[in-house]
Symmetry: C2
Subunit: 519 residues, 2 copies
Amino acid sequence: MRVKVFYLEPKERFLQQLSSVLCLLELLLMIKDKNVKSQSNDVVIEAGEKLPDLPTYTAEEVSKHGDKNSFWVTYKHGVYDVTKFLPSHPGGEQIMNAGGLSIEPFWNVYGMHKTPEIYKLLESYRIGNLHDDDVIDHSDDELWVKEPVRDNRLIVKTAKPFNAEIPAKYQIEFFDTPNELFYVRQHMPVPELDADDHRLKVTVKGSKIRTEEFSLRDLDKFRRVTTRAALMCAGNRRSEMNEQVKPVKGIGWMGGAISNAVWGGVYLRDVLLYSGVDPEDTKGKHVIFTGADIDATGVNFSTSIPLDMAMNPSSGILLATTMNGHPLPPDHGRPLRAVVPGAPAVRSVKWLQSITVSEDESPSHWHQKDYRAFNPSKTWETADFATAPPVYSLPVTSAICDPADGDVVSVKNGAVQVRGYAYSGGGAKIVRVDVSADGGRSWWEARELQADAAPPQQHYGWTLWTASVPVATQQKEVELWAKATDSNFNTQPERFNDIWNIRGILSNAYHRIKIKLVH
Amino acid sequence: MRVKVFYLEPKERFLQQLSSVLCLLELLLMIKDKNVKSQSNDVVIEAGEKLPDLPTYTAEEVSKHGDKNSFWVTYKHGVYDVTKFLPSHPGGEQIMNAGGLSIEPFWNVYGMHKTPEIYKLLESYRIGNLHDDDVIDHSDDELWVKEPVRDNRLIVKTAKPFNAEIPAKYQIEFFDTPNELFYVRQHMPVPELDADDHRLKVTVKGSKIRTEEFSLRDLDKFRRVTTRAALMCAGNRRSEMNEQVKPVKGIGWMGGAISNAVWGGVYLRDVLLYSGVDPEDTKGKHVIFTGADIDATGVNFSTSIPLDMAMNPSSGILLATTMNGHPLPPDHGRPLRAVVPGAPAVRSVKWLQSITVSEDESPSHWHQKDYRAFNPSKTWETADFATAPPVYSLPVTSAICDPADGDVVSVKNGAVQVRGYAYSGGGAKIVRVDVSADGGRSWWEARELQADAAPPQQHYGWTLWTASVPVATQQKEVELWAKATDSNFNTQPERFNDIWNIRGILSNAYHRIKIKLVH
């Protein structure tokens, strides 16, 4: 029930809930009529077990029985002829949508069907087994029915939850990534929230607990600001670590889990000050962000950042409502998200519905059991998440976007043009990008760095760069290496070996691609 | 004249200056008497040229003529019998100190002798040449006569100027380095300043120029604060880069050009705000620090930092008067210095006498022609200092302090105890130190990190660490590697090859030592 409410407008929601309750009552009455009572020694825990003595039907055969004359449905392994049941379906004609199909996607949306009583009722109509090849796991279908429409230029890594990277060529085409091309990293289905109704609850736990509630209009009363900030998944470029060292756990991001945007909103610091946070009493405290996105067990997404960081005026953390001048798209947190510049994007909680200032970090498993770093020798058995520091800031990285690995490139005036992005977290600015075409024997400084004017220490955007790299006429192919240096003069490590970690995050060694040359 | 005043107390200084002026007048009158006039076609630019027709004397022979009966002196290659001049020496008996010796060290202190007229006067007493083997370059003697007494445990790299590192064993013995063991990095002789008389001039160049002058007592009216900050020379660990790749220019620092202290003073930001700096108008401006230390050409030491950095409340830049609770020692800037935490120590200008807020960076050669970084392919011919970014923040580094390279170490319980320091600039905190004894195949996390409680992003002290590294019983020697990871999750590069630069700064690759094992 909890999930469904996100997909409905308020009025519809009420009617739907009312109708659901009525349906359920009807069903229960009907079950009583048919005298299918739950008995401890005759339990059907769930419908759709495979029953060896029944005939097998393919999905194609079942699909031919989709009208009132012969109405079959499937549920897991079970095939059911419910033609006679149709007139008494409490939900009326809605059942007709499931003719010749699995009823699971429907029951996933109308979860009140999922009771032992109704499973037993269904089993009373059982006629066969669905062919093994046609049994599909629909267990989470209901979560995804209202997902936003996405730009088909995105490279989908996982569909549910939706995780997709921006193709490299679009990264360098736009300094500020168009919203529809901004990479998408979801942990769960996208909640559908109404901007007018949305409330942000801010709770400050101190000697007494104080809670404020803000509508978006209330937030607008704080000074409005914009910040240019790239957001990058901590797992960006994981696939290289995975391929070049050994397998890691996580989405196989290439270099496309970073994009750049101008975010508009109000300073988190201002809202926290208003809500009673004492700027002199920050040590050891945390700001827990909770989103409206919910996992299968009903837990909201949540993570936290140190209160020190939140209250530092130069960290520029926003409660954002706009992205490149437009209201946040659903995939990017509509109507309200945190933007924690310089931090792994996971801290920039989307669909933000509450903020809690607490002595403790977020207890969520996303915070406690992920986005922490270990040395290469730590295994899933030996890694101690409890004592490992959470990642609140990202190291310097870069990637070559053009050419792409494997490309055939025309040499012009004895050189290859190379373009890419570079980025460093914690407010550091990129001061240099170097490219080598000969295994590090010579380095060519990128001649052009495109970046925001923000000063080092408070620089949160990415840098796009162009380098011209001379190649010898006899060379038919070269390996290009790119490395960036930031304003703290940190550079990328040469190889992934010594930064490898079980989760494959912080994968920032030199980017290396091989290209073929045409002179 | 300019240099001498640093070595005298105020009253003495006045008398000395008066006396000097009188001496000079007398000399000039005397020169007139002797009719030794400067003539364009009979110029003696400087005394002491070798004259082939004169006899040669050894220093030993000259030394026998040191009393009023026979009073010889030398100047460069010249030997002079000035016995007859003694009664008319304007400086009186002082000249007797130079009997039988070179007068250069004295003239270096009393620089008013260095005029063409006096060179000619001297040459009029010429009797011979000093033996080539005995000619000593005294050109900068005068600068060094008042250098502070230093702790003899420091490892002297250069005597003039004094540059000395702290031995590794003392780095790890004290979390806050005792003042007398704090590494010393001088560009010039140590000026001797009087705390009571000292004034700090603060000039803010805007639409109009505003100047404030502060005594130390005036500065005390701002809120007093302390900050724990390590200071590290940008060239720390240069010797490793030099040895492991190819020669670089600069002092051959091992790992001892870093120490840690608690600095007491007032915030630069507060003083700048008081002096009229507009915190909203910082972009592209600079804060030029000028010290009282002066080079051979009379130019004061100077460098600058961006005004953005100076005005950022979290950068915690101090105008410091104390070091570990004591007044600054002369070697560390008595009575006033800047402390720019997280930056190369060169920005923490000592003997601070003026601050200028300007549209321009410091024009000094220390600022313009040094402390800038290049990629490994840049040579002294191709490096363009004008466009290279100045280093205002230091990358993550670490070093093993115990054992030392080449030590014979007893294995206890199958492991070697390894201790060292780690540090990162720009406010980043060390979150992990890893040690490998098998070329990176396995890494052992330091079990103990000793650090200040300041939060990441505002963490300026160093971290001392202890790791226990298992070694196999058959191993007779191992190479230990240490690498640190900071709160931005930047790590050290594996090797020096790809970070090599002509000046040998930012030399932060893994620290590697070889030790012999006794099981």
